[in-house]
Amino acid sequence: MKGELIFVALVVLFAASFFYTMSMHPDSEFGGADGEAEGVIAEINPSYEPWIGNLGFEPPSGEIESLLFALQAAIGAVVIGYFFGYYRGKGQSD
């Protein structure tokens, strides 16, 4: 139980830090750090243009993008849950 308790305490702390940041800096956008780095590139070298555009499929909206991210997480979670269950069940029947 000790491990779980430490983890839950950290999750609570993490959530608290999020709400603290939100209340202290209400104008925070919580955008991606990747995008902010691109802003820094524009500051350092204003004339830089990406020399090649996006080559893969570009999600047409934020909704489609979150769908694909959710799919990514779901696929991973299914695999993890399946094999942990498999190992646990196998361990009990041995």
């Binding site: 491990g3 940041t21 996006n54 893969g56 991973g76 190992y87």
Partner: protein, 231 residues
């Protein structure tokens, strides 16, 4: 940590490919060997890959007021070593470049180097050193995976700083700018990843400690001890 398509000018994008590609091929060789010799470990390999899938899809808010995501690669690095982890990381980065317009194909080499290679190497080195120093297993897992996560973002900052040196102060000055975003944002996320990975390792010890011994992650004495604590 994803550097977007076209955001690394030559020669940097192919320099990072030159570093990553040999490691990926070595990792594929190691992975093939592992799968053919120890087929029973395949599920654990799938779990390690799936862990990267889940964690790298979670964009979490941070104290800097921006969002970033953990990497999940530390767990695979501890279990299977950095080379195999590089292959798993490449699969995830390809998925995101192909379907999510996250990262890119020209920047894949650089992104694999940070998330798939250097981060995992940091995890592996800290893990081995920590276990040698006889520190508690879960504490070592926490430290190794948290620092691997954080190191990934430091490497991304270095990659961007090298490609975009500031006019005044050069690459060092731009490193401070990029690290100010990536390394700062990542601190709470890295702590969370370390704690989560330590917790997952507790469950692996519970259900499949013999696999950890077989992979030489822990000795059978350590496994006995850890299982004794659990039970």
């Amino acid at each position: 940590m994803h550097i977007s398509e076209g955001f690394l000018p030559g020669p940097w994008w192919w320099i990072w490919f030159a570093i990553s590609i040999p490691v990926i091929f070595f990792g594929m060789y190691r992975m093939n060997k592992l799968i053919s010799e120890r087929r029973e470990l395949l599920p654990l390999l799938a779990v390690a890959g799936a862990f990267i899938f889940v964690l790298s899809s979670l964009k979490l808010p941070s104290v800097t007021g921006s969002c970033s995501h953990p990497t999940g690669t530390g767990m695979a690095a501890i279990l299977f070593g950095p080379a195999i982890t590089a292959v798993l990381g490449t699969i995830v980065l390809l998925y995101q470049a192909l379907f999510l317009a996250h990262g890119g194909f020209t920047t894949l080499g650089a992104n694999v180097a940070s998330m798939g290679i250097i981060g995992p190497v940091v995890a592996y080195v800290i893990y081995k050193a920590g276990m040698k120093a006889n520190i508690n297993f879960y504490v070592v897992v926490f430290l190794a995976t948290a620092f691997a996560d954080w190191a990934t973002y430091v490497v991304t900052s270095i990659q961007l700083a090298l490609a975009f040196p500031a006019e005044a102060g050069g690459a060092m000055a731009s490193f401070q700018l990029f690290a100010g975003i990536f390394a700062m944002t990542q601190v709470p996320l890295a702590i969370m990843e370390g704690a989560l990975t330590a917790l997952v390792f507790k469950y692996i010890v519970q259900v499949k400690s013999d696999a950890l011994v077989e992979l030489k992650v822990i000795t059978s004495e350590t496994a006995e001890k850890l299982r004794g604590v659990v039970a």
